[in-house]
């Protein structure tokens, strides 16, 4: 207890608890979100010292203006073919998300997470990285897998936990693992992949390899201790890694202020660690591409890590288990000043005379059919809850490389339990 009488001349302290600007029912006005022109950000040499990135950590690297024109020092001047590929991959990701979201609503699986509005973050990065660079994603970078050509049916099999699921029904839907596509096993535990990516990058460097690592987390997850340890390790050993912070403004129901956004940017975190920091327009696929390409070159030339903050907006609920109308204004996604990443790249290509509305509509139809066909194929392997798709005793496999005696014993016990319940190994639950 303090001595109240002696301290009575001091003003009382006040605890600041952040509050988002808009709650359900509020009119939305994002006028205070600064959107600088595309030529505002300089493009430094990839060997520039990390302590010189203050302006880029607080600015916003952009290539595509809202009218669809491209400009500024970061314009990667991609070929129309390359841009059409990115557009297609973004549209594929959206189509896949829509289909799987609906599958969850139809009760065909337990869970799904969309990346609506954030497609550029994954697709722009995947286009800029080499296919054998190792990605340590969070759960919202499915666009990387789709960009790298992962089979849709394989991904859906995982979502359905069915006979075709190579993770053998062990993992929650969307927690993919695709080593062949340089896509590290997704964990439910946030930001654990950050130091792991650094370790992978350090190993690559220690072995004299040429591959680099990239990792993603949301802005909310930057508050985890692993974020700090990863940044420290990456800086200390100059690890060839790219840190991506997907600032989509929301961590489930908590706005970015609860991760520290009221006081600074997430790119600015890099400055304190001695890491190059770029804050970019995350709804601008060309900016994502350009920044990733830049960071990859910096990493590949042993200049060390880069942290990229992708300033974007989570247009959908956090997951199929979330209802965003309970905590934010329904008007937010449409009012977001950086728009929709697919629309922006589409308009850019149309402006160049390299695309048109009819082709876009045809592409959407084709992708929708492709996803639908894949879904049909995947459902032949079963959907969640309709019978047991893996022999029940496989749950004991793979805990260790070789099954130790206590697990063999528990496996035998389970077989006996199932047998007394009249269930065979491959049979129904």
């Amino acid at each position: 207890m303090s001595d109240a009488s002696r301290r009575s001349n001091l003003p009382p302290l006040a605890l600041h608890v952040p509050e988002p600007k808009f709650r359900p029912g509020d009119a939305v006005d994002f006028a205070d979100v600064t959107v600088p022109p595309v030529d505002a950000a300089r493009r430094p040499d990839t060997s520039e010292r990390a302590d010189a990135f203050h302006d880029l950590a607080f600015g916003l690297v952009r290539v595509l203006d809202m009218d669809g024109t491209a400009g500024g020092q970061w314009n990667p001047r991609l070929s129309p073919d390359a841009m059409r590929r990115m557009l297609r991959n973004m549209a594929l990701t959206r189509a896949f998300d829509e289909r799987m979201f609906r599958a969850q609503r139809q009760g065909k699986t337990s869970f799904y997470m969309k990346s609506l509005g954030e497609e550029a973050v994954s697709i722009g990065a995947a286009a800029a990285l080499a296919d054998d660079d190792m990605c340590f994603p969070s759960y919202r970078q499915q666009g990387i897998l789709l960009s790298r050509g992962c089979n849709l049916v394989d991904m859906m099999n995982q979502i359905y936990s069915n006979r075709g699921d190579k993770l053998m029904g062990r993992q929650l839907p969307i927690m993919y693992s695709e080593k062949d596509f340089g896509f590290f096993s997704i964990s439910g535990n946030l930001t654990t992949q950050y130091p792991q990516a650094v370790g992978w990058a350090m190993a690559s460097a220690a072995k004299g390899d040429t591959r680099i690592a990239a990792t993603w987390c949301g802005e909310g997850s930057t508050a985890e201790g692993d974020f700090h340890s990863a940044c420290t390790f990456a800086s200390v050993y100059r690890a060839p890694v790219i840190f991506n912070v997907v600032n989509n403004q929301w961590a489930i129901s908590s706005f970015s202020g609860f991760a520290g956004a009221e006081a600074t940017t997430f790119a600015a975190r890099a400055v304190g660690y001695g890491i190059a920091g770029l804050r970019i327009d995350g709804n601008d696929a060309l900016a994502v591409y350009a920044a990733t390409k830049w960071a990859a070159e910096r990493a590949r030339t042993n200049q060390g890590p880069t942290l990229i903050e992708h300033f974007t907006y989570r247009a959908e609920g956090h997951s199929t288990s979330d209802d965003p109308t309970q905590y934010r204004s329904a008007g937010e996604p449409n009012a977001w000043p950086l728009g929709d990443p697919i629309v922006r790249l589409r308009d850019h290509l149309i402006g160049l005379g390299e695309w048109d509305e009819a082709r876009h509509a045809a592409m959407d139809k084709e992708l929708s059919d492709q996803v639908k066909a894949a879904q049909k194929e995947a459902e032949k392997n079963g959907i969640l809850g309709h019978g047991m798709h893996q022999p029940f005793d496989t749950m004991f496999e793979g805990v260790f490389e070789e099954m130790p005696p206590h697990l063999r014993e528990q496996q035998a016990q389970m077989r006996a339990e199932r047998a007394s319940a009249g269930v065979t190994v491959g049979g129904n639950l």
Binding site: M134, N189, T192, Q196, V198, A203, S229, P404
Partner: protein, 337 residues
């Protein structure tokens, strides 16, 4: 053969494995140039270079997280946590990541890491240099937990752990780094020179994980112990003249239950000894398994001699430590029935 203390044996194990496998790397706080606060990594950086043996920032979650990533790349990291008391910041990486990686990726990615960490009390280490947290790790599916009691075992088990493709927690009882400790803190300390466990081959050899060691055959009671407590138990029964069979578990997961079961069925009595706190400790698991398997052979209730359910005290250490008096009382109690 050479005479080694446990630190030298552990150093030798890493030396042997680094020479055999270029993917073995050693990392941790102060392990590089300085050679470790207990000298366990002395000379390794000079011999193998800074990219294979290096100092790390002081961040346990970072050390283990980075090691998991290195393992995913294809290296075989041997990270050190300076004291087991400081392993907790790394728990998420160990429990949620290293232990689950093989399972959740159906074998696509693995974590072939060996986490070395000095543990245990008896050194006036107080609350944060004395703990025995093995029970936290034996509870985690996917982790192996190993604890040696002699220099010979330490080297053979550490080599096996490094070669193992599963993540292993390797706890080193620091009280017996320099010599076997019989629990008599008021007598001059011994070194390993006169103990058979101090004879250590200089070259490669391994002791398979999951194999217990019957360090003394006996007929009247089985003592289940590991680490420092193996030596304390041995001294206690010699002093009291009890014909006990002492089983040094060496590996808690996987557990050599066959050796335990055979011993208790022979003796009909069982005393479990560990430094760790009692409630939820590994002794509870041992007691349950012995009860399940040897119920009709038991002639007395199973006794547990453990640390008390308190934080590890400083000045009251020798009242807390499961020393000869406490073990002796338990033995007399089970022998009475």
């Amino acid at each position: 053969m050479a005479r080694m203390n446990m630190i030298q044996a552990i150093n030798s194990a890493m030396d042997v494995m680094m020479a055999r496998d270029p993917d073995v790397i050693v990392m941790g706080e102060d392990v590089g140039y300085f050679g470790g606060v207990f000298r366990a990594t002395a000379g390794l950086q000079a011999k193998y270079g800074k990219t294979r043996v290096f100092d790390t920032p002081i961040t346990e979650c970072g050390i283990i997280g980075v090691a998991v990533g290195m393992g995913a790349y294809g290296l075989r990291p041997v990270p050190e946590i300076q004291f087991a008391d400081y392993i907790y910041p790394a728990l998420d990486q160990l429990v949620s990541e290293a232990a689950r990686l093989r399972y959740r990726s159906a074998g696509e990615f693995t974590a072939p890491i060996t986490v070395r960490s000095p543990f245990g009390g008896g050194i006036f280490g107080g609350q944060t240099h004395s703990q025995s947290p093995e029970g936290i790790f034996t509870h985690v599916s996917g982790l192996k937990t190993v604890i040696p009691s002699t220099p010979y075992d330490a080297k053979g088990l550490l080599i096996a752990a490094i070669e193992d493709n599963d993540p292993t927690i390797f706890f080193e009882p620091k009280r017996i780094y320099n010599g076997p400790f019989d629990g008599h803190y008021d007598r001059p300390s011994k070194n390993w020179s006169a103990h058979p466990g101090g004879e250590v081959p200089e070259d490669y050899y391994r002791i398979d994980l999951g194999t217990a060691n019957v360090v003394r055959a006996g007929n009247d009671v089985t003592i289940l112990a590991y680490g420092t407590m193996v030596h304390v138990a041995m001294n206690t029964i010699e002093t009291l003249g009890i014909d006990a069979e002492i089983v040094d578990l060496r590996s808690l997961v996987p557990l050599d239950i066959e050796t335990i079961e055979a011993s208790v069925k022979k003796t009909g009595r069982c005393v479990i000894v560990h430094e760790a706190t009692r409630t939820g400790g590994f002794g509870a698991e041992l007691s349950a398994q012995v009860q399940e398997r040897c119920f009709h052979h038991l002639e007395a209730p199973i006794e547990r001699v453990t640390g008390f359910d308190t934080p590890y005290p400083h000045s009251l250490e020798w009242a807390y430590f499961p020393g000869p008096v406490r073990i002796g009382d338990a033995l007399k109690k089970v022998m009475k029935d």
